[in-house]
Symmetry: C2
Subunit: 358 residues, 2 copies
């Protein structure tokens, strides 16, 4: 990186996140960014088409109360306990800025969503990475007594392992003077949500996204649930940044999607079923397969280097996610696609393994 004399210290010290590739080719099996393999609800698509009209000349409502009400209904909270944003990445960025402070170290697991250290750098928040336990679960004891706050995903990424609600309560009680952010991007695929705890813990903020569970990564909608005063704080920061972070079409699409519970119950069920046999198939190939509750599996190949498998699968037209980082570089993250896609994956992995042996 060649710097510029015009960059601020923030820009110079930033360590931007690198998302998984979004190839333009259409004949690729994309198992690298945890997208849902099924289409969004037809009702959501219809609602968005209806919104494509001359009203787009006007700004959205900056408060987005209509969407907040739909979310409040779904989550059994008050709409004033809801914040909405342009994807949960944006919601998390605002939350870092609202609740974490320079000079007060926050805690997150050492193996986790790799955007957290990026936000911390951007906002100059020091952090302590708490090592996972030997079984790859989050160290509950280690997450207590933070100076500046706590953040972790549940299920964790990229392990996919979920923490039971009792452990979450322990972490909340062990950080009563600081905000604990639980990033539930993958919770709908089989973990227990901590939203049931918001009325008991004023230091609890939960973030969710429609990208994965609702097959709507393309319209960028995320939200947060928490105590009214936490939400008010994030609103203050958001309204100092951009009055209208959400567009009219995404708002309508999100509302219709969240209302179509029957459709998504079916989609989630299908992903969970596919995940189940994919885990078994990869174990049969000798891989170490962590017990994921998310829409991906995190596996350690045996008989082949993870980086080699990643490259060979890419040549075969299957994109997986490989993290070239300490602790992670012997693993591969595989998004759960359709049954057909996963059958192709297992078949091709098997073939590659056989070639390695011979």
């Amino acid at each position: 990186m060649r710097m510029s004399k015009f960059w601020s210290r923030t820009a110079i010290e930033a360590n931007p996140y690198v998302p998984g590739e979004q190839p333009y080719e259409v004949d690729i099996v994309k198992l690298n960014t945890n997208e849902n393999p099924y289409p969004p609800s037809p009702k959501a698509l219809e609602a968005m088409k209806q919104m494509v009209n001359s009203d787009l000349r006007k700004y959205p409502t900056p408060t987005v109360n209509s969407l907040k009400n739909v979310i409040a209904d779904r989550e059994s909270v008050n709409y004033e306990q809801v914040f909405v944003g342009n994807g949960s990445d944006e919601v998390l960025a605002f939350a870092f800025q609202t609740f974490f402070e320079p000079n007060e170290a926050i805690k997150f697991p050492d193996i986790t969503y790799s955007f957290y250290p990026v936000y911390a750098k951007l906002y100059k928040i020091p952090y302590q990475e708490v090592p996972l336990q030997e079984d790859f679960t989050i160290d509950v004891e280690g997450m207590k007594r933070s100076t500046g706050g706590v953040i972790f995903p549940n299920p964790n990424a990229p392990t996919g392992i979920a923490l039971p609600i009792e452990s979450i309560e322990e972490i909340l009680q062990g950080n009563s003077n600081n905000v604990v952010i639980i990033d539930e991007a993958y919770v709908e695929f089989g973990a227990e949500s901590a939203v049931q705890l918001v009325d008991y813990y004023p230091n609890l903020l939960i973030t969710k996204t429609l990208s994965k569970s609702h097959a709507l990564a393309g319209i960028r909608v995320g939200y947060a649930i928490g105590h009214v005063k936490l939400i008010e704080g994030i609103e203050r920061v958001k309204n100092s940044f951009n009055s209208y972070t959400m567009d009219r079409i995404s708002i309508k699409g999100a509302e219709a999607a969240l209302r179509d519970e029957a459709y998504y119950a079916n989609v989630l069920d299908q992903v969970v079923k596919t995940r189940s046999w994919v885990k078994e198939s990869l174990k049969e190939l000798g891989f170490l397969v962590l017990n994921s509750n998310a829409n991906f599996v995190f596996v350690q190949p045996v008989g082949i280097e993870a980086s080699v498998l990643y490259r060979m699968m890419k040549k075969e037209g299957i994109y997986l996610r490989y993290f070239n980082k300490p602790n992670l570089d012997s693993y591969i993250r595989i998004t759960i696609g359709t049954n057909e896609e996963m059958e192709e994956l297992v078949r091709k992995v098997e073939r590659v393994l056989n070639q390695q042996i011979n």
Copy 2:
């Protein structure tokens, strides 16, 4: 405001922007948020409808090169000189964070877009407000020799008065060690763009929006043009905040809109024509009317308090923008609507003035 012990200093010290009202009622004449009264290009609407399909399950491309290429074509620059974001408010927020530094005061006019001091508070950037000259134009001499950088809109808001390109060059030359941001939100309505200068001034960043000129406030698209290294800097900050700030539908809509130059030439022409007679009509009523090159006029009513006129028009179903702030509180900002809307406005203002006199 009752604070929370969980808020960061940033959240506590924030002074959020308050945008113009977005009433839900449909029978209102909305002249308060500088929206375009005409619908977006039919080609843009069609492109967005086409994009509402099952591909929305996938993330957008984080680089958004397809849209950058369309903008580069239009502005006669390279696509690497283009940054795109979720409305120009977001683009400006990133630019503040990328180019301005705590402890180094930036300069902007004392009468200007009221979001600038909000960003400055959010990022802890000190600022010096340079008073406008007596004729309400920006004080070119006063904008030179900043410590930390410069930002101003051209045309200025809410005066609508444009600065000639020679004055902009003077300001650029007078700040060669700092970035000068020119916010051209309203430039398409009749001012000269400084994009022609980007290859000569590595310290020049220009921001634009599709909200007003392209009647697309509802889909949130803004962009910046500048030297490759300035764009690289903003990308670093953006990619530390949210990998995908723009959604798939907005990207497609923006591309189609920017390509439909014939449609928008006609729309802009119509707004300029309407502005011309509205200025004359309000002058005939005795109002002081600044010489706006934007899609609004900034007027000082005579024979009635600005705040009273604002309230009376609201009762009549016409929303205008009133700023209850020193220097601004004797003025009203009126967005240029359709001819019919503006005829109704002038008629109702006239009636209210007559009632005041009698």
